[in-house]
């Protein structure tokens, strides 16, 4: 009995050790987004609250929490309240299988990749339910757009991950990273380059970020699926979106960029020093790079037209991924280049 309680407590501590830094990361990501986009528009961005504006996210959170949550009169109350939770919870639960370093993982399961893929798809139900429960045209349009878009890009993303699975021969995220050992040349983004690009672009589409943010499309449908949400419920959507961004970036780092492995691993002269050693710092740096890409995209690209999004997903990404999976499979079976025994 005591043992069980101890184990439970230990797991709780681990969960907190993942979620609290994650939520702080989300907070500062919102600030980073505003500062980065500001800089790209030759502005400065928020810099008044605290040194360099560092307390701005907290001011925003306090503001949102103090605001009233308005339930539209003709909405479906139960679903209306459920929806933001449905977006946030999968975004957090997916972190259970993310390894931060060898052995540093909450749940070491062999179908980790499948688990992540499943949970990131559940998030879309939050969006759809939010759009439906709000009983508003804008919200409903946003939800429908988001559903169609996410379903399309899920396929491309899934195929890209199948490529990784073929290359690594495992669904376990730790083993996928360990399969990339031996210097930057062995990282999967080189042999799987098209899949890598498609994975990341689909990731941007999956998280409804610019230039694929038609679900929000503030210039056409106000705020899309969350147009009726305010206060804390709105904050939950926000939190879910940003947690998903971090998740996608981290997964890209794990699956294509060698995770916690050092890029200098095989460089002669520095073997054995901390530069060549695998560490969580490398993983975080790579994740930050991908997060910066998210912000960079948002500052650069105008929103895709809806039919263009569909065309890109179905007519470009899916064929390319299928072809490349075959190419990778051929390489693996024939044991060419990266897969030489």
């Amino acid at each position: 009995m005591m043992d069980h309680l101890m184990a439970l407590g230990w797991i709780l501590i681990k969960i907190l050790a993942i979620t609290i830094p994650l939520i702080l990361a989300v907070a500062f990501l919102t600030l980073a987004e505003r500062r980065v986009i500001g800089a790209m528009q030759v502005r400065i961005g928020p810099n008044r609250v605290g040194p360099w504006g560092l307390f701005q996210p907290f001011a925003d959170v306090i503001k949102l929490l103090m605001k009233e949550v308005i339930l539209p009169a003709k909405s479906n109350r139960f679903l209306f309240v459920l929806a933001p939770m449905l977006t946030l919870i999968p975004a957090l639960v997916a972190w259970a299988v993310i390894p931060f370093e060898e052995g540093m993982v909450l749940a070491q399961i062999d179908a980790g990749l499948l688990y992540v893929l499943a949970l990131t798809s559940v998030g879309v139900y939050g969006v759809i339910i939010a759009g439906w429960a709000s009983n508003s045209k804008y919200a409903f349009l946003g939800a429908m757009r988001s559903a169609a878009q996410i379903v399309s890009y899920e396929i491309a993303m899934g195929f890209a991950l199948v490529g990784v699975l073929v290359a690594a021969g495992s669904l376990n995220l730790t083993e996928i990273v360990l399969g990339q050992q031996g210097g930057i040349w062995n990282w999967y983004f080189i042999p799987l380059f098209p899949l890598f690009i498609i994975y990341f672009i689909s990731g941007v589409a999956e998280t409804n970020r610019a230039p694929f943010d038609v679900a929000e499309g503030e210039s056409e449908i106000v705020a899309g699926f969350h147009v009726e949400y305010s206060g804390a419920a709105f904050a939950l959507f926000f939190l879910g979106e940003y947690a998903n961004m971090i998740l996608i970036s981290l997964l890209a780092a794990l699956m294509f960029m060698g995770g916690w492995l050092s890029p200098l691993e095989a460089v002669p002269g520095i073997e054995g020093t901390f530069l060549a050693a695998p560490s969580i710092v490398w993983l975080l740096l790579k994740t930050m790079f991908f997060l910066f890409l998210f912000l960079w995209f948002r500052a650069t690209f105008p929103r895709y037209r809806y039919d263009q999004i569909m065309r890109l997903g179905w007519k470009v990404f899916i064929p390319i991924t299928i072809v490349w999976i075959l190419v990778v499979a051929l390489f693996v079976v024939k044991q060419w280049l990266w897969w030489a025994p």
């Binding site: 980065v36 800089a39 650069t300 690209f301």
Partner: protein, 162 residues
């Protein structure tokens, strides 16, 4: 053939990378932002801010209650009442400007034959009650007295172009 090359070009995401190069270039550029209120941009001597009434150097108010400004004001922001003063000159007894109506067009200043009503360079002001939006003659004169040096200098500078 050209269809294939254009297809390949769009697959290589060249336009998108070009766009990203532009934005990253701006990322490192010095920023234009002025740190208001610590820093302020310079103002033209023709700046049309809060209105004021000026006096002659001898202390006599300039306004002769001709009501040209009241007539020209496109926003009907000015209300003037006048009477004959004991020395026989015509003077205003009431000179109200409703700042909520005023659009700071400067027509009143242009129309004034004696340079009495002028636009100052004050643009930072507030009011805490609705009724405060109407500024009265004493307030206008007081503002004019406070800024007289600046106002005179600005008009001096602008005189050759009038």
């Amino acid at each position: 053939m050209s269809a294939i090359t254009s297809y390949l070009k769009s697959l290589a995401l060249l336009e998108l990378l070009g766009g990203m190069r532009v934005t990253i270039g701006y990322f490192f550029k010095p920023k234009f932002t002025i740190m208001y209120p610590e820093e302020k941009t310079p103002k033209s001597n023709r700046f049309r801010g809060l209105l004021a009434l000026r006096r002659y150097p001898n202390g006599e108010e300039r306004c002769i209650a001709c009501k040209l400004c009241e007539a020209v004001c496109p926003a009907l922001a000015i209300t003037i009442d006048s009477e004959q003063r004991d020395d026989g000159t015509r003077r205003t007894t009431r000179f109200d400007i409703d700042l909520f109506k005023c659009i700071f067009c400067g027509f009143c200043e242009e129309s004034c034959p004696v340079d009495s009503i002028v636009g100052t360079d004050v643009h930072e002001y507030h009011m805490e009650e609705r009724s405060e939006s109407v500024i009265t003659k004493p307030q206008l004169l007081a503002l004019g007295d406070r800024l007289e040096q600046q106002l005179a200098a600005d008009r001096q500078q602008d005189a050759p172009y009038r």
